[in-house]
Symmetry: C2
Subunit: 81 residues, 2 copies
């Protein structure tokens, strides 16, 4: 999977899990300790985040980095899920 | 898990899996398409790699990003494994 595709899927998954938790982007940015514009760009698939940032995002979503990547690799990408 | 601990565990795991595959660091760096000094610093736990780089490393080790992090989170860190 190319880096762009990985960033896109990661962003879609973060958005889907954030919304499933009922967190606004603003609320979620505060939980992760990242600026909202940054979180927004991650969700748009524009960021090749570090594993440290991905781990913080996973924790704020109440999951683990491993589970996040298992889900990411399991799901075909689809924005309208 | 703090970012430093994550980088340390990631590095230890990459080294262990690389050695299990019988790849020298030089050979592995070529497979991943990264400079050997960079791979060496990753293995020493000095790098907070991006998920794109982690994915390339996983592929070069013949595994997936998900399996790599499942293993990382499963194992207590221990350099003398």
């Amino acid at each position: 999977m190319a880096e762009e595709e990985l960033a896109k899927r990661f962003g879609e998954l973060v958005r889907r899990l954030r919304q499933a938790k009922g967190y606004s982007q603003e609320d979620f940015s505060f939980r992760v300790g990242l600026h909202q514009t940054y979180v927004s760009s991650v969700e748009r698939g524009e960021r090749n985040v570090t594993i440290g940032t991905a781990n913080r995002i996973a924790r704020a979503l109440g999951t683990t980095l491993a589970d996040l990547f298992v889900e990411l690799e399991r799901r075909p990408s689809g924005p309208d899920d």
